[in-house]
Symmetry: C2
Subunit: 364 residues, 2 copies
Amino acid sequence: MPRPLDSTPAADGFRMPAEWEPHEGCWMAWPERPDNWREGAVPARAAYAAAASAIAASEPVTVAVSDRQFEPARAALPDAVRVVEVSTDDAWIRDTGPTFVVDGAGGRRGVDWIFNAWGGLDGGLYSPWDRDDRVAAKVLEVEGDARYRAPIVLEGGAIHVDGEGTVLTTEQCLLNRNRNPELDRPAIEAALHAHLGTEKVLWLGEGVLEDETDGHVDNLACFARPGLVLLTWVEDPADPQHGISADALARLEAATDARGRPLEVVKIPAPGPLTITAAEAAGVEPVEGTRPRRAGDRMAASYVNFYLGNSRVVYPLLDPTRDENAGAILRDVFPGREVVGVPAREILLGGGNLHCITQQVPAR
Amino acid sequence: MPRPLDSTPAADGFRMPAEWEPHEGCWMAWPERPDNWREGAVPARAAYAAAASAIAASEPVTVAVSDRQFEPARAALPDAVRVVEVSTDDAWIRDTGPTFVVDGAGGRRGVDWIFNAWGGLDGGLYSPWDRDDRVAAKVLEVEGDARYRAPIVLEGGAIHVDGEGTVLTTEQCLLNRNRNPELDRPAIEAALHAHLGTEKVLWLGEGVLEDETDGHVDNLACFARPGLVLLTWVEDPADPQHGISADALARLEAATDARGRPLEVVKIPAPGPLTITAAEAAGVEPVEGTRPRRAGDRMAASYVNFYLGNSRVVYPLLDPTRDENAGAILRDVFPGREVVGVPAREILLGGGNLHCITQQVPAR
C-alpha cells in the first residue's frame, strides 16, 4: 500500500492477467461532475447503478464515491455492492484505477500510472485531475496491495493483454505527444513490458473515430482469449471508421502474438453512427477547460467496450438495430458466460462505456 | 454494509466484546481542523502518527483521512499502516466510528450511533457534524460489516463494557439534555442493552473535571478485566476532581456487576493539573461555533484514556512527575502486555486522548 516499490512488476515476477482470468471483484467510480454528465449526472448515475447491479451478479463490486454523494450512492446501489469514499475528478476507473498484477503464487500488487486527464493541458478533457491521479493509490490501500508508481503517463483503457505475453495498444494514444513526448516507441515498449510482464506489443494505428481518449484500444479491439481478437467494425466504406477498423484488421492479420500464434479476428458491427441530441447537449453545464458536449457531435460508440466478468459479460445497449447482433456474437465468443446487455447511452454521452467505468481485481 | 438492519444486536445474538478480547485491527482518524488543533494541526498529526506507530506494533492500524491530507498522512505514517479516505469533521473515531459487536460464531456487525458533536447546538463542540455522522457507515463499508443505526445519540467514549453483561457509563453524559432529552434513565438503559448485548448498567455520576464531552466515562474509569475497574484519582481534597473521583469510587465499591461480582477498584493518580499555555492557545484559529481554546483553561487530563491493544497498552505521557507511576500501575494490571507511553499533550490540547482517537475492531 504505502510508499511505492522501487522495482518493477516484471523484475519481481508479476504480470497483468487477462480479463478472463478469475476476478476477486470489480471497482467502479460514481459519476458526479455536471460539466460532463447531463442533468447533474442523475441519468448517468442510474446507468452506473444498473451496470453495477449487472456486474454484482458475477463478482463483488465496490463503488468509489465522494463524501457528498455517499448517501445517494448507497441508496441507489444494491445492498451487495460496497460503497467507499474516494474523491475523484470523474468516473473512469479503468483509466484512473490501478492495473493489478499477480505473481501466480498468491501475490497481487498494483501499477499506479501517472494520469493527466487524457492529455493534460494539450488536449486533455478537464483540469485539474489531481484527485483522479490519487485514485489508484487509494484503491490499493483499501485492497491492501503494494503499489508500483509507473514513471509514464498511461490509462488502463489504452492497453489490453492476453495474459500470455502480448499487449495490444494504439499508436494514436501511446505515441501521442500529450502523453510521454520524451519517450520513443522502443522506450514505451520497454515501459509496458516492465509494468505488465509482457514481451511483445501489437501496435494498432488509430482508435475509434471521435474517441476523446486519443484512441484507447479498449473501445476498438480486445482479446477474448489467447489468439482471438474482437474488433469493432463498420462496413460502409464511406464512413471514416471503416478505414480505421480495416487498418486494424490488416495489422492484426499480419501479426503473431508473443507465443508466435497468428490471430483470429472476430468483427462486431458498431452501433449507429450515434450523435448527441440537442436535449442531451443542453443538459450539460459548460465549464471552461472541460471538453464541451455539442449537439450533433458523433460519439465513439462501440460494443467492444464491455466488461468481462467471472460468470457474465456485461455489454452496452446502444442501438436497437444492432444490440442483438452484438449480443449474439459475444455469446458465440464466450460460451461459458451469461451475456447481459445494459442500457448505456448515458455512459456513452460522458465519453466512454462499460469497460472504461470498471476495473477488475484479479484473484491473488 | 448497506441499508441498516431492522433489528438490534441483542435480538440477533450479538454483543460488544471487552477491549481486552482479541482485535483484528484498530481505526484512527487524522486531525485536520485548525480551529481545534494548534498550528494547523501539524503538531497533533505528529502525535497521532506516533500513536499509530505504537499501536501498529500490536495490531493492524487503519487511518481515516480526507482527500486533501491523503498524501501528507501517507508520508507521515509507517508503511504498515493502511490509509483510507474518509472525510471527517474532527479526529475522534472512538465517538464517530462504529461500536463493533460479535456473535461468537464468526459474525461481526457495527452499531452506528447518532452523532451530534457532543451536544448539538446545546453545548456541542462544533457545527456542522454531518461528515462525522457518516464515519461509522463508511468504516463498516470498508470492513464489509453489516450496520445497525441506533436510534439514540451516543458516542463510543461514553461507554465501557466488561464483555460479560456490564456497561459502565456516566449520568452527566447519558442523561444530559443535549443528548436524548426524550428518554429517561430506564429507556436509556434499554437502548444500551439492546445495542451492546448487556444486562446491567453501572452509573457513575460526573466525568473528569472540564471534560468537554460532558463527562465521557472513558476519561474517568474503565474495566481492565471482569471485576476490575481503573479509576483516575486526585488525592488533594481541595481539587474538585477529588470529589468526582471519590463519588465514582463510592458507587463502584457499592456495586456488583452483571454476574453479581463485587468490583475491585485500582486508582491511577492523574497528571497535573494541566492548563493550556498562552502559546498553545494562540496557535488555534478561532471560528464562531467551535469551542475556543483559552490560555489558562484546565484540561481534562487522565491516564485512564489509554488504548488496550492485543499485545500492547499504549498510554499517554502527560506529566513527567506522574507518567512513570501510571505506567507501573498499568504494567501491574496488564501483566501479559507491553505497556508503552507516547507523548500525548498535543492530543490532550484537542480535547481528548488515546482512547478517544482509536476504535478497536474485534476479531470475528
